[in-house]
């Protein structure tokens, strides 16, 4: 089963995305902050990481950079952004992000983007 690490501090969004992705047949591991996200990243070695950019303790950019230092397997990263964060998205792509979705995002669109990355 494809393992997804979801790092999002907005609990409601986290739960919604988690339920949707579970329904789509993915295994989802959730984290509320960047620090927890980094720990789970090295212990769980997910296939895809979904991360918000603004997180407590450790930023989304640091997570993207940490993902790309992992040598054991190729991990895809999709970042969540909000309107007006173009410079942060640009930075995330420089660090190795594979795709992004802008809030408000559609759950269907998110699923499509994950599947596209897994191909």
């Amino acid at each position: 089963m494809v393992k997804i690490l979801l790092v999002e501090d907005n609990i409601l969004i986290q739960k919604t995305v988690q339920l949707k992705l579970k329904k789509e047949g993915f295994e989802v591991i959730c984290c509320n902050d960047g620090k927890d996200g980094l720990e789970k990243l090295s212990s769980e070695l997910p296939d895809v990481v979904l991360t918000d950019m603004m997180l407590p303790y450790v930023s989304g950019l640091e997570i993207v950079s940490a993902v790309k230092t992992i040598k054991e397997k190729e991990i895809k990263v999709i970042v969540f952004s909000t309107m007006g964060q173009e410079n942060i998205i640009e930075e995330a792509f420089k660090l190795g992000a594979d795709d992004y979705v802008t809030k408000p995002f559609s759950l269907t669109e998110l699923t499509i983007r994950i599947r596209k990355q897994l191909k």
């Binding site: 907005n10 609990i11 409601l12 919604t16 408000p104 995002f105 559609s106 759950l107």
Partner: protein, 366 residues
């Protein structure tokens, strides 16, 4: 000194040792009451915090599950009795509305219909309506915001009436809501607006409009001739952002406005919707203008100008102000492929400081 001796004497005359016991007891009683009040307050706050936490969890579970459902039956199944129990208290109902708005801001697509369904199903609209009908400005503004975020289109007309409210915040919330409901058509409130649109408000309206597909703004000429100067300013920005070339003549008329900010914006807008004679219009305007507007004309000529504008720009190198010379040099360098040579020649003939050209060349290299 006499007064001090007298007050000491009279003080100790009335205070007896037995009074010390009474004072101690009173002090203890007051301290006890204060600790008790503090403890009660903290206890209430703690209870409220945990109740809100439980409520938020129940609501998050419910909304999360609802957003991925497709049928009416599935939707109803996810509204738990526990959630309904929580929602009997007004504070919990407000929390529910806040969470639904939070979802609306973060999720789009089909799932939003489920959020609105839940808002209606839980009868939360009543709470928003109460706020909307309140006479307190911030409650009314909040009510408008909630009704708009929850897409209550039946309230459109009532909200529209508030777009010219004398309260700035109600007015702003209502205008944003109307655009949220109707897109560019919602701008019809500009026809009757008598109050001013602040700079911040104009930015918010443009931001709100950016989420809609652009349409032909047929009322734009009317807004550009409005007696409300802030409406004229906003209309100029609309013409600029959405490049409404058909109002070129009306924008040119705005150059005659006595308000310098309007003239400044009109120059920027003309540059964005420029036609063949726009550089000549800006040149004709130059001599009637104030310093900041002159600078803006030169900046815009750098964008829309051509070889034909070089004689005008060369004249401006004789201006006494260095910033005007600098802008004119920048414009010449952009308008002509051999702009550098033209400026060098002018510098030699008219004894103009060579540092102006050096500055522009340095900017180009950088």
């Amino acid at each position: 000194m006499v007064l001090l001796t007298f007050s000491k004497k009279s003080f100790f005359h009335f205070i007896q040792p037995s009074h010390l016991y009474i004072a101690t007891l009173a002090f203890l009683a007051v301290t006890f009451l204060m600790v008790l009040a503090l403890y009660t307050y903290l206890y209430i706050q703690k209870r409220r915090f945990f109740r809100n936490k439980l409520m938020t969890q129940a609501l998050d579970d419910c909304i999360g599950a609802l957003l991925i459902e497709r049928t009416q039956d599935d939707l109803e199944k996810n509204v738990t009795p526990q959630l309904l129990k929580y929602l009997k208290k007004p504070i919990s109902r407000q929390l529910a509305i806040d969470q639904l708005i939070n979802t609306r801001k973060n999720i789009s697509g089909e799932a939003i219909n489920n959020v609105i369904w839940l808002y209606n199903y839980l009868n939360l609209k009543e709470d928003s309506l109460k706020k909307f009908q309140s006479n307190v400005w911030y409650k009314k503004a909040r009510g408008i915001y909630e009704l708009y975020m929850m897409n209550q289109r039946d309230m459109l007309l009532k909200i529209f009436k508030r777009t010219n409210s004398q309260n700035e915040y109600i007015r702003m919330e209502a205008q944003i809501a109307i655009i949220g409901f109707s897109g560019f058509e919602g701008l019809v409130f500009l026809n009757t607006l008598t109050y001013s649109l602040t700079e911040w408000h104009q930015i918010k309206l443009l931001e709100q409009l950016s989420t809609f597909n652009q349409v032909h703004l047929e009322k734009l000429p009317k807004w550009l001739q409005s007696s409300n100067k802030s409406v004229v300013m906003f209309a100029l920005k609309l013409a600029d952002v959405y490049q409404q070339i058909f109002v070129h003549d009306e924008v040119t008329e705005c150059l005659k406005d006595e308000n310098e900010k309007i003239r400044l914006q009109a120059i920027k807008t003309l540059s964005r919707i420029a036609v063949d004679n726009t550089p000549q219009i800006l040149q004709d305007q130059y001599d009637n203008e104030e310093y900041a507007t002159k600078l803006e004309i030169l900046r815009q000529l750098a964008i829309i100008g051509s070889e034909e504008d070089i004689p005008f720009l060369l004249e401006k190198l004789n201006e006494s102000d260095d910033n005007l010379k600098l802008e004119a040099t920048r414009a010449i360098m952009k308008c002509s492929s051999n702009g550098e040579e033209i400026v060098e020649k002018k510098i030699e003939n008219d004894n103009i400081p060579v540092s102006i050209l050096k500055q522009v060349k340095y900017e180009q290299v950088r």
